[in-house]
């Protein structure tokens, strides 16, 4: 990340204080979101989301596997993020690994719920084929191509778009099998089941600079942050996950205030994202 001079830092902080950021946005305005679906044909679902200069791709691949013994009625979902070295100079070589793990963990926490599988944004019970024997394993991969701040929001939006683009093949199970045998499964090439993505939450990251919070910070604004709180909110307005970054301590009342601001912002964001995903799917069908 290129450094900023004292004068520039002062300008950015002044802008945030006066509610007019460097590109004319208000504090709670997102950059224009551009969604493309179906960018990776070999995957079952994929999407590319551009948020200003931030560019991320998410892909979903489904494979048949065996459910774990503790949760025989649920499929398995794994989320992993990779920061490409082309995204920023500091990601060269193994520099991006720390950030990748941080993003993966934050996304898992927001979208997958706890260890027992309870409270997941993505419903794993819809992934089971034969209870206890066969289930779908979803591998969700995120790739950061270009980083200009607010990676978490972009990745969550990309995952949501990729899942709405995902078609899980229909499986025919052979009926006569004994209980201890692996059932024969026939994976159809033609029919697909669409995923229900209305329950998937989005992530809103609030970055605190000075005394104010901003939404969707660019990397210049992120360099000025004292702390950032990422809150994942679903359509009903429920909080699905919370992550705090940055070493500066926050008063609990500020965190509660941030949560209410995030809920307010998330309504517009979810509507905007849904319309963009619908538009992207429509244009993909045309081409």
């Amino acid at each position: 990340m290129v450094g900023l001079s004292v004068g520039e830092k002062h300008f950015i902080q002044g802008g945030i204080a006066q509610d007019l950021r460097s590109d004319g946005r208000k504090r709670l305005t997102y950059r224009p979101i551009y969604v493309e679906t179906g960018v990776i044909p070999q995957a079952h679902g994929s999407a590319r989301v551009r948020l200003g200069a931030t560019d991320v791709i998410a892909s979903v691949k489904a494979e048949l596997g065996k459910p774990s013994a503790l949760q025989p009625d649920k499929g398995k979902i794994a989320i992993y993020v990779d920061c490409s070295p082309t995204a920023a100079p500091m990601f060269e070589g193994r520099g991006g690994e720390e950030l990748s793990t941080e993003l993966s963990v934050a996304l898992q926490r927001c979208l997958l719920g706890g260890k027992s599988g309870a409270g997941a944004g993505i419903d794993p019970t819809s992934l089971v084929v034969v209870e206890g024997k066969v289930c779908w394993d979803l591998y969700i991969d995120g790739l950061v191509i270009s980083s200009d701040g607010n990676l978490l929001d972009a990745l969550a939006a990309a995952i949501k778009a990729a899942l709405s683009n995902t078609g899980i093949p229909k499986v025919d199970v052979a009926v006569e099998t004994r209980s201890d045998e692996q059932p024969e499964v026939n994976i159809s090439d033609e029919e697909f089941l669409q995923f229900d993505t209305s329950g998937i939450p989005v992530i809103v990251t609030l970055t605190k600079v000075g005394r104010h919070y901003i939404v969707d910070a660019t990397s210049e604004e992120e360099s000025q942050m004292s702390s950032a709180v990422s809150i994942s909110v679903n359509r009903k307005g429920h909080i699905c996950g919370l992550t705090k970054r940055g070493g500066v301590g926050l008063d609990p009342s500020i965190i509660l205030d941030m949560i209410s601001v995030a809920k307010h912002v998330s309504e517009q964001l979810i509507n905007k994202l849904d319309s963009e995903i619908a538009a992207a799917e429509a244009s993909e069908e045309e081409s």
Partner: protein
Amino acid sequence: MRGLQLPLSQTQRIRLQRALEKLQSLSCKANSDASVTVADTIPVNYEAALLKGHGTTDLNGDLVATVCGVVERINKLVYVRALRARYKPEVGDIVVGRVVEVSQKRWRLEINFSLDAILMLSSMNMPDGIQRRRTALDELNMRGIFEENDVVCAEVRNFQHDGSLQLQARSQKYGKLEKGQLLIVDPYLVKKSKQHFHHLEQFGIDLVLGRNGFIWVGEHVEARDSMVVDQANSSEQSMVPEEKNKTHTPLEMRQNICRIANAVRVLSTLGFSIDADLILETVELSSTVKIDIHDMLGSEFHVLVAEREAERRSLVGKRKR
């Protein structure tokens, strides 16, 4: 043209395409065989002795381009000038750079070139304005003039033997740039003109168009009076950091800065040459259409700017005839 990453609706896409086609047809009158892509054959007169320059290669007896760009011919030299290349400096260019390192008697600046540029301490005016030999004390106080990550405006003085640049900042108008924002565009969009410093009076804003693609938009700062005594300066400077914390740029000026910065961003996305008149016209267009500052980066305004530019160029073309 780079694929515009904008969410364009169907009608906007059609309008934009129409405007761009119009622009292309207007510009095609000039040597249309000049632009080449990779593996295009360059039309040459084979009888003349040729010097094959950058971006060309000899393939089966034909001269073939290896980069996408424009063919330039200077006497016997034929080369292809790539468009999206790094900045190619010329002596006398005004550039805006960022200080990367403070070393012995010089500052190193990053200017979007393959090497860092050097600004010698002796090429810089002293704060007290007196022309004198730089002492060891001056060398130790270099950080007081420019620190790391400062944005500096200077002029290209000459090339050094290893290919790097030497800059100078001898005049009052060069120096540190504060209270504003730096924008980065492609270097080929800023053409050489008579004036690169623009003081936009109606906004009270300084606009510096660096030929290396770094454009500075900021509050207007009066050229520092060289006869100010050193002591007054130093006492002022110690007060300034605290004052800065209280006095931010006034809101109206900030709005103007953001509007101009967004105009530059729109022009650079569309690939139009950036000069002060065009920027002012774009800002006027945005205020006549009463568009919000942030919406200037939206698809509708991009299409409007492209259409207006196509109209303007066709009018200019008609006037010439």
